[in-house]
Amino acid sequence: VTDVDSLPPAQVRLLERFADHMVPADELGPGGTALGVVRYIERALRTPWAGGARQYLLGPWQPGAPSQGYQLRQTPAALFLQGTAAALSLLEGRFASNAEAADAGQLEALLQLLRDGDAAEPTVPPKEYFALLYAWVMEGVFADPRHGGNAAGQGWAIIGFPGSQGGFRDTPRGSRPRASRRQP
């Protein structure tokens, strides 16, 4: 598995900024960092899955068509580490900023750049990195708290998911759509 003890402080800070920008604190609950997103990511990097477990990792390696799915050589952990480093240098280079000083507009522009795959970074495919970053931020909010995020189930509370401790057989069934703007 990848050595992840060395995730540099500036990258940790960037992930905190991403987490709070993507999942801001509001009346519905804490922001991403307080929910444990970065703690989740640091643990996620060390999971067998992030190290490529249960994935086919033999070559030859070819890019393939989108319909053929993930064909990168990197394990998820390697992709994430390379991608976060590349995102930081993009912030420092193209935006002449850094993880501490970046304002909301710069963070937004950087995330959009990664999402749309426009970032010119020869070794790290930005779309694939962004897909993993987005997934891990969401997992840090909505995965079971035992994995390090979703602190005290406050992520689940955002949407009203009552938890996975038991079943809901005796929970009332809810309510059907009521008269709305467009009654048939």
């Binding site: 249960r54 038991g166 929970t171 759509p177 008269a179």
Partner: protein, 605 residues
Amino acid sequence: MKQLAPVDVAIVGGGWAGGIVAKELGKAGLRLCLFERGPDRRQQTADVGPSLRDELRFAIHHENLQNLARDTVTFRNHRLQTALPMRRIGAFQPGEGVGGSGAHWNGVSLRWGDEDFCLASRYRERYGAQRVDADMQLADWGLRYDELRPFYDRYERTAGVSGWAGNIGGVLQPGGNPFEPVRDGPYPMPPLDEGVAGVWFAERMLQLGLHPFPRPTANASQPYVTPDGVAYRPCAYCGFCDRFDCGFEAKGSPDRACVDVAQRHAGFRLRSLAHVTRVRRRGRSGWVEGVEFIDLATGEPAFQPAEVVVLAAYTLSNVHLLLVSGIGTPYDPLTGRGGVGRGYCYQSRSGSAALFYEHADFRPYRSHGGTGTMVDDFHGDPAFDRSVPGFVGGATLSGGLVLGRPLAARPLPPGTPAWGPQWKRAVAKWYPRTMVIGGSGSMTAHRWNWCDLDPTYRNAVGQPLLRITFDFQENERRISRFMAARIRQMVQVSAPDHCTEPDAWESPWSIAQTQSTHNAGGTPMGTDPSCSVVTPRCQVWDAPNLFVLGASTFAHNSANNPTALVGALAYRGAADILRWLQESPATLLDGVASRPSLPAAASPD
């Protein structure tokens, strides 16, 4: 290679097909060995309850699914492309471990009837000889629903299916599916709750003159004991079915319903973590003499001699094992001849529609694997006129809540940002207020959809991977457009405040997009040995003591989910294997003539 003491029957695969055969042959006192390459999780499932409902471990990291580092497939859309390996789980989710895919399924359990088994002749009678596509490979299965009826009954009682019958002995039952194949009696249990979204959908479908019914599913709606004495507890509505072992002993799963039962019999032996790599032929005769496997705990290869071998692995593994064992004639798309790898099918479908209601609470977490309401009017109804949309087959459509596991489903109206303050408010608002309408379409075998061995990529034991060449063809594209149009109509009468547009799915088919674990074909059943692999009794034409069970024997794919038919064929297969062993016939059951080019099968060398 170490050689083990012989058994009567070696069974490859510990899912529904292998589990049923093991249980039934165990009762008959045979010496059996069941091989499963995954682990035995039964004790863990019984012990740990809540930690089974961990979405990250099972739905994202796929701990219960096939270990692709050990064995996967390669895929391309057409023969001019280079196939590349499926490096991660995507479109389909083959299970691994005792219980197979039946341990982590949703439970949806629908019978296939004569409309499917006689698809080719029914279509010809009604619409003439012309086809949607000259390369479509339509063939009757050589099988009739009435032969399977008692076996469907036994499967449903074993799996513990809850549902509302639509046709008992030819008498239509209000509230059920009027187009379902005739049943001998009600389902083992009444249906589970469809949820308020499902009921809402049902009412809208009645307005359209359609025939909604609660989706039958192998989740117990009440305490239930199978004929083998396996007890199910009532479903807890926890919402963790698909991808998960059931922590409430409520879901019909072959690990409990079959393997536990097989283990009561002294002649039965389970070998988990045992990867069968080859079926060994007896010299150059048509017969087989056992299976080679690797004990994954020790890495040691061994040979298990057997009188009869049953391939009951997942669809793709059944095809792979025949190809790497050199059994049967590989399919050649250029000539259209050969059986192994032929007729690989999946499920046609369109995009689904999400419906958002300002004033509703669907309680999306209060669900079970089958929650929802279906209509079969565009699939099971023989009177439905296919000539206008111009396709063979059809589609079932369903409506109900969005399964509310927090990593799987956070539906948002179109135009909502994917992060930020607006996203957070929207995700909170719409989580309980969204329902979905979607569908499942059939697929016919096609000349250019097939499986063979990959020339480049290898599995962990150095064998070539199975290569899938597959795309949606014209028939599937037409079904998809039809589905999208019907869904739009259903959305219209359901009057949501916002909705997403259901797009038709055109080519190319993608192995990366999550769809269904309904892979079928590749060792098709048929009456013509030149273009099928097994007889209508699932016996390999070329190897009379080799039976293949599972969806790989399907000659096409129905809109209906595959498992009920897999179960029924396994029950019939178990009876056939017994009969065949007892009668010791020279070749094949039912006096079917073996392939003429075979050496005399009764005198194996």
